[in-house]
Structures are given as structure tokens and as C-alpha cells.
């Protein structure tokens, strides 16, 4: 027997040995159950699709506690991250002296820092409350304004008038 015949014989023996696996059969009755199981799963899936979107999410999370914990952690992380990124300016009240009186602008703490290098002056009408904007003696008949000159707030170097909201 030459090498080629020997190789062919080996292959044939191996094929016979492998064909032993053909005689492995699933448990009795298994074949009858498969299709009904698959169809049942498809029906359940079809019914589940009819439910509202939020109810499906709720059900998914109820059946998978680990998933709901993970989602919660992700939401908390997003809220924390968002809070850090979107920094809300502090609402410190800044007091200004003008015209022999003083007035306060809530949330104007940025004014000092952003215009540190610039000259700014505030022109207020002399009629505007010596006691301050929040004073009780008179109500301003003219809308008070803040006027800034300099590079800090006015990039073009022009005077800009910012109307102040009346109380």
C-alpha cells in the first residue's frame, strides 16, 4: 500500500469515526417542543411591542435590577458633570458708590474682575436717588443706565449704555 492509498484509507477511517456523531440524538420529544417555544417567544415579543414606550422601559428595568442601577449611576454622573460644566455665576451683590449715594446691583460681582484692567465710569443722573436705587425716597423718572468706557466691556472702545431694570 503506497502513501497515497494509505492516506485515503486514513481519511476514510476518520470519516467513519466522525460519522458516529450522526447517531447522537436529542432527548425524546424535543423536536415537538422547539417550534412551539419559538412561536411563544415571538408572540410574547409581539405583545410587548404594543405596550407604550415608557412601560417597556419600566418593565426592562424591573426585570434587570443591575441595568437600572447602571442607568441610575449614569444619570447621576451626567447631572454632576453638567453642573460642573455649566457654572452658574454667583449672585453676589456688588455695591457701587455714585453721586454721593450708593446702589447695589445683584449678580454684578463679575464686573470688577472682568474690567479690572479697564477704566470704567458710571454716569447716573443727579436726580437718581441719593439714597441708592433701592431707596425709598423717590422713584426714578429717568431710566438709570450704566455707562462703561474702555476695552474690558466695550471691545470697540465706544461708550456703551446698559439700561438698569427699574425695581
Amino acid at each position: 500500500m503506497d502513501m497515497k492509498e494509505q492516506h485515503a484509507q486514513d481519511q476514510e477511517d476518520l470519516r467513519k469515526l466522525i460519522s458516529l456523531k450522526r447517531h447522537e440524538t436529542p432527548p425524546p420529544g424535543y423536536g415537538d417542543l422547539v417550534s412551539s417555544r419559538i412561536i411563544s417567544r415571538l408572540e410574547v415579543d409581539r405583545i410587548a411591542r404594543r405596550d407604550p414606550f415608557l412601560w417597556r422601559i419600566f418593565r426592562t428595568l424591573s426585570f434587570r435590577p443591575a441595568l437600572s442601577v447602571v442607568y441610575s449611576l449614569v444619570m447621576i454622573a451626567l447631572v454632576c458633570f453638567g453642573r460642573d460644566v455649566v457654572e452658574v455665576p454667583s449672585v453676589n451683590t456688588q455695591t457701587f458708590q455714585a453721586g454721593g449715594g450708593s446702589f447695589q446691583i445683584p449678580g454684578a460681582s463679575w464686573l470688577r474682575s472682568s474690567t479690572a484692567s479697564s477704566q470704567h465710569s458710571m454716569n447716573l443722573p443727579s436726580r437718581v436717588m441719593p439714597g441708592g436705587l433701592m431707596g425709598k425716597r423717590s422713584r426714578p423718572s429717568i431710566q438709570p443706565t450704566l455707562q462703561f468706557t474702555g476695552s474690558g466691556l466695550s471691545p470697540l472702545g465706544q461708550s456703551v449704555r446698559y439700561p438698569l431694570l427699574q425695581p
Partner: protein, 218 residues
């Protein structure tokens, strides 16, 4: 065709096939059943499952050597096939198309399973298997372990199969166990016939090494 589909529509109001419907569905070819299934008729799809589940289960069992895994994968394959049925264009037969889904699913599953411990869960041998002439000839005093029992042989054979890579195991399964032609295998595995032949050759060489003690002496 239109008449047939109308008949299915009339009969298959409920998803559970009635005996009279089952008779009519059995006579239909795959194309009609696929068309009906694409409309969402589960009775038609049920008939397709009945036709092909045993062959697909068998392949997946030989790939996994585990009955429970093969069962899960078979169910999952048909469910995915049903969900993707709207995209089925009919380029290949439904059987080949579903086979591809099952095979890809199983290969992905085996890659994941490879990283964790698993056990064999083998099906029983047929009662009359030990009397099969080929097996009688094989389990004889010609082998180095002449006293080998058929269940031991089954165990060793499955262990040897698991030593092969997924693609080589699939090629051997489809050709030597399922008896498919090279052309059919190339369609399922989406490769050319030459690749199938070379994979088969390499896989057999490996199996000969693993099963040397259980093959007849030269």
C-alpha cells in the same frame, strides 16, 4: 400564488395553526411560507421552523457539544430570522439564509464561551447505534484500544472536535456529519469552494492527531 396566500390569510387568523391549516401549509413551498411569514403570519413561520429546526439544531449541537446551548441558539436563530425576514430578498433559499444566521450566531457565541469554563452536555446515542456495521467495524480489535466503549468514543470525539477552531469545526460538521457538498458549505460560510476544501483537509489532519488512539492501525 395569490390564491395560496389568500388562503393562508383566510385560514391563519389565529397564530396557532388548526389541523386543517396545518395540512394546507405542509403542501406549500418555502417561497409561499416566507411571503406569508413576512406579513407576520406566525403559522406559516411555524411550518418553516418544523421543516428546518432539526438540521439547524443538529449542526449547532455538533458545533457546541452541548444540548442546552444548541437549543438556545436554535431558538435565537429562528427568532432573529423572523425579525429580519423583511430584509430577506430571496437571493438564497430560506434554509441557507437561516443557516447563515445560525452559524454566525454560534461562532460569536463560541468565541465568548472560549473565555469561560464550559462543560460537555452530550446527547444520548441511538439505541441501535452500537449495531451499526461501520461502528462495529470501527470498534474492533484492530484499534489500539479494542475494548473502547461507544460512550467513551463519543466523549473523545467531541473533545477532539472542540480542539478545532470554529471555522474548521463547522466545515467538518457540515461535510462529514451533515453530508453537505462543498458548494453548499461555501454558500453557508460565504467563501469559495477551494477554501472549504483546504479547511476540511487541515481539520481532518488535526483530528487524526487527536484521535490516533481510536483509529485502526495501518
Amino acid at each position: 400564488m395569490e390564491a395560496i396566500t389568500r388562503k393562508i390569510r383566510r385560514d391563519d387568523v389565529s397564530t396557532a395553526p388548526s389541523p386543517s391549516t396545518a395540512v394546507s401549509l405542509i403542501d406549500l413551498d418555502d417561497g409561499c411560507l416566507v411571503t406569508a411569514s413576512q406579513r407576520g403570519e406566525l403559522a406559516a413561520f411555524d411550518e418553516l421552523i418544523r421543516r428546518y429546526h432539526s438540521r439547524i439544531y443538529s449542526t449547532l449541537y455538533h458545533m457546541t457539544s452541548n444540548h442546552e446551548d444548541a437549543d438556545d441558539l436554535t431558538q435565537e436563530s429562528f427568532i432573529r430570522a423572523f425579525k429580519a425576514l423583511k430584509r430577506f430578498k430571496g437571493d438564497a433559499s430560506f434554509y441557507t439564509w437561516t443557516y447563515r444566521i445560525a452559524v454566525n450566531l454560534t461562532i460569536n457565541f463560541l468565541k465568548k464561551r472560549h473565555r469561560r469554563a464550559y462543560h460537555l452536555s452530550l446527547n444520548d446515542m441511538e439505541i441501535h447505534a452500537e449495531n451499526h456495521p461501520e461502528l462495529v467495524a470501527l470498534i474492533s480489535n484492530k484499534t489500539p484500544r479494542g475494548e473502547v466503549r461507544i460512550h467513551e468514543l463519543q466523549q473523545k470525539l467531541n473533545e477532539a472536535m472542540l480542539q478545532l477552531s470554529e471555522t474548521h469545526r463547522l466545515t467538518v460538521t457540515l461535510h462529514d456529519i451533515q453530508g453537505m457538498s462543498h458548494e453548499e458549505i461555501s454558500k453557508i460560510m460565504d467563501c469559495n469552494v477551494g477554501t472549504v476544501r483546504s479547511r476540511l483537509f487541515y481539520a481532518r489532519q488535526q483530528l487524526q492527531v487527536y484521535l490516533a488512539d481510536y483509529l485502526p492501525r495501518p
